[in-house]
C-alpha cells in the first residue's frame, strides 16, 4: 500500500485530515492518561485534580470570579511587552545584519546581554519601576529583546547576496535595497522569529505575575496555591498554554496569508 509506505517515509506527505486526526489523538491520549491517573485514586486529589474537576473550576471561575479580567490583563501585558521589544528589536536586527560596523558594535554586547538571567532582574525591576504595569512589561522586554535582536539579525544575514547584488546592478539605492530587498526577503523569517519569541514572552509574564502583581493569570495561580486550589492552578496553566497555542496558530496563519509565494507551488 502506498499509504502505509508514505506514512513512514522520511519527510513524507501527510494529508490535512490525517494531520488533524493525529493531533486530536495526541491530545486525547494525554487527557485519557491524566484522567485515568486522577480517577485511579493512586494520587491524592489535592495534588492531581481530574480533568472534569478542572473544567468545572474553569466554569466557576468564569461565572463567579474575574477570569475575563485576569485574561485581559495578562494578554495586555504580553502584547505590550512583546510589541515594545519587537518594535525596538526589528530595526536594530536589520541594521546589525546589514552593516558590519553596527554588527561589531552591538552583536557581542547583545550576546552578553542575552545570557543575563532575566528572572534575576525581578528585584532590580521592582526597585526601578515598582510593581506597576511597567514592571511586567520591563521583565517581558528583558526576557525577549536581546534574543529577538540576534535572531532578526540572523534572518537578515540569510538574505542571499545575489539578491542584494542584483538590486545594486538594477540601480537601487542603499535605502531601497534595505527596504525593498533585505527587509522583504527576511520578513518571513522575522515573522517566525516573532512567533518563537512570543512563547518566551508568556513565560516571563507568568514570572512577573507570580512575584509582583495583584491581577492576571500568574497571580491567580499564586493565590490558588495559597488556598490549595490545585484545580485552579491547572486551569491557569492550561489557559496559558492554550492562549500561546492560539497566538502561535494566528501567526502561522498570518505567515501563510502574507507570504503566498512561500506556500504556492
Amino acid at each position: 500500500m502506498t499509504g502505509v509506505a508514505s506514512f513512514w517515509s522520511i519527510r513524507g506527505h501527510l494529508g490535512n485530515s490525517a494531520y488533524l486526526a493525529l493531533a486530536a489523538a495526541g491530545f486525547t491520549t494525554f487527557l485519557a492518561a491524566w484522567w485515568m491517573l486522577a480517577a485511579s485514586g493512586l494520587v491524592d486529589p489535592v495534588f492531581l485534580p481530574t480533568p472534569d474537576g478542572v473544567v468545572r473550576r474553569l466554569a466557576m471561575w468564569a461565572r463567579e470570579g474575574d477570569l475575563l479580567t485576569d485574561l485581559k490583563v495578562s494578554i495586555g501585558r504580553v502584547l505590550g511587552g512583546f510589541t515594545l521589544a519587537a518594535v525596538m528589536a526589528v530595526p536594530l536586527g536589520i541594521y546589525i545584519g546589514s552593516f558590519r560596523p553596527v554588527q561589531a558594535f552591538f552583536e557581542p554586547l547583545m550576546e552578553f546581554a542575552r545570557y543575563l538571567p532575566a528572572v534575576a532582574f525581578v528585584p532590580l525591576v521592582m526597585l526601578w519601576v515598582g510593581i506597576g504595569e511597567s514592571a511586567k512589561i520591563a521583565l517581558i522586554w528583558i526576557g525577549t529583546y536581546f534574543q529577538m535582536v540576534l535572531m532578526v539579525s540572523d534572518n537578515v544575514r540569510q538574505v542571499p547576496m545575489t539578491q542584494i547584488e542584483a538590486a545594486q546592478t538594477l540601480g537601487a539605492s542603499r535605502g531601497e535595497i534595505l527596504s525593498l530587498v533585505v527587509f522583504k526577503s527576511a520578513l518571513p523569517g522575522i515573522v517566525d522569529t516573532l512567533r518563537i519569541t512570543l512563547g518566551w514572552a508568556w513565560t516571563y509574564l507568568v514570572v512577573a505575575e507570580l512575584v509582583a502583581a495583584n491581577s492576571g493569570l500568574g497571580y491567580a495561580i499564586l493565590r490558588a496555591q495559597r488556598f490549595l486550589q490545585t484545580d485552579k492552578i491547572f486551569v491557569g496553566i492550561l489557559l496559558i498554554g492554550l492562549l500561546g497555542l492560539v497566538m502561535d496558530q494566528g501567526l502561522r496563519l498570518l505567515h501563510r496569508r502574507a507570504f503566498p509565494w512561500l506556500h504556492t507551488r
Binding site: 542571499p160 545575489t162 539578491q163 547584488e165 542584483a166 538590486a167 545594486q168 546592478t169 538594477l170 540601480g171 537601487a172 539605492s173 531601497e176 530587498v181 522583504k184 526577503s185 520578513l187 507570504f259 503566498p260 509565494w261 512561500l262 504556492t264 507551488r265
Partner: protein
C-alpha cells in the same frame, strides 16, 4: 571598414582578494567593441566570475581600471546589467514585478501620465511576450521551471536597455534541451537589442556557438591566455545546424586545447596515477 569604438576598455586590471596571497586576476588588458558578443572561458578558478564582477562594479580592482564609454567604472549600475547563474530573482514579486524592478524606470514614480513610464510598461509586456512568459506574468518565481526563471532574469536585465549585458554561466544550471532553446533566444535578443554581451561559461561549445570572440583565461594567477576571433557568421545569423559544422568544431578544438594546456589537468593525472598505485598495493594477490 573602420574598427568600431571600444565600449569597454580594461587596462592593467588586477584583483587580489583580501587575505589571499595569489592574485585572482593579473594585468588584464582587453577591449570589448560596441555590439560585440564576447565569451570568457577557462579552467575553473581562473577568474572568469571575478572579471565579470569587476566589470559589473560589484568588486573593486586592486590595480588598473575599467572604462565604459571612457567613463571609469566605480560601482554597479543599470547600464551594465547582470544575469546571475541562480537565486537572483525576488521570490516575493511576481514575474511582471520582477521584470519591472529596475529603479531607474519611471514605472515606480507612480506618475501615470509620464510618457517614459508608459513606454517602460509597454516594453515590459513586449519583453515578456518575446520571452514566452506571457502566460506566467502573475506567477511567483518558485512556480516556474529553471529555464523560465532565467528568462525572467534576462528580461529584467534587459528592461532598462543596458549598454552591456553581463552573464555569468546563465545556463549552467539548465538541462541540455532547455539550454539549446536559450541559445537561440539569446542570439535573437542580441540581434534585436544590439547590446554588448560579455558571457562567462564553462561550456566551450556554447562559447564558440554564441560569441564572435572568445577570450581564454589561464589560472594562477588569472590572466589572458589568448583571444580568438571566430571566423564564423555573425552571432545574429547563426542557426543550430552550425553546432555540427566543421569550422565550429575546429574552433571548439582550438579553444579546448588552450584550456587544457593552461589548466592543471596533467597535474590531476599524476594524482590519479598515484591513487591507482595505492589501490594496486592494497589488492591481495
Amino acid at each position: 571598414m573602420t574598427a568600431p569604438a571600444p565600449c569597454i576598455r580594461i587596462a592593467g586590471l588586477g584583483k587580489t582578494y583580501p587575505g589571499q596571497s595569489l592574485p585572482a586576476l593579473q594585468a588584464i588588458d582587453l577591449d570589448v567593441a560596441q555590439g560585440e558578443f564576447l565569451a570568457l572561458v577557462g579552467a575553473s578558478g581562473c577568474g572568469k566570475s571575478t572579471l565579470l564582477r569587476l566589470i559589473a562594479g560589484l568588486e573593486a580592482p586592486t590595480s588598473g581600471g575599467i572604462w565604459l564609454d571612457d567613463a571609469p567604472v566605480t560601482g554597479p549600475g543599470p547600464e551594465r546589467a547582470v544575469v546571475f547563474q541562480d537565486y537572483s530573482l525576488y521570490p516575493w514579486l511576481t514575474v511582471l514585478e520582477n521584470v519591472r524592478f529596475c529603479r531607474s524606470l519611471r514605472v515606480h514614480t507612480g506618475n501615470a501620465s509620464d510618457s517614459q513610464a508608459a513606454s517602460a510598461v509597454e516594453r515590459s509586456y513586449a519583453l515578456l511576450d518575446v520571452m514566452g512568459l506571457d502566460a506566467v506574468r502573475d506567477h511567483y518565481p518558485n512556480q516556474l521551471s529553471g529555464g523560465m526563471r532565467q528568462r525572467v532574469a534576462i528580461a529584467r536585465a534587459l528592461m532598462a536597455q543596458p549598454r552591456v549585458l553581463l552573464m555569468d554561466e546563465p545556463f549552467g544550471a539548465l538541462d541540455a534541451q532547455t539550454r539549446e532553446v536559450m541559445h537561440e533566444l539569446i542570439l535573437r535578443l542580441f540581434e534585436i537589442e544590439r547590446s554588448t554581451i560579455v558571457f562567462v561559461t564553462h561550456d566551450v561549445e556554447e562559447a564558440v556557438y554564441l560569441a564572435s570572440r572568445v577570450v581564454v583565461l589561464a589560472p594562477h594567477p588569472g590572466r589572458v591566455d589568448g583571444v580568438h576571433t571566430l571566423s564564423l557568421p555573425p552571432p545574429g545569423e547563426r542557426h543550430p545546424d552550425l553546432k555540427l559544422a566543421p569550422e565550429l568544431l575546429q574552433w571548439k578544438k582550438t579553444v579546448l586545447e588552450r584550456i587544457r594546456a593552461t589548466s592543471g589537468v596533467q597535474h590531476d593525472l599524476d594524482k590519479l596515477n598515484r591513487l591507482a598505485e595505492l589501490s594496486r598495493r592494497r589488492t591481495p594477490t
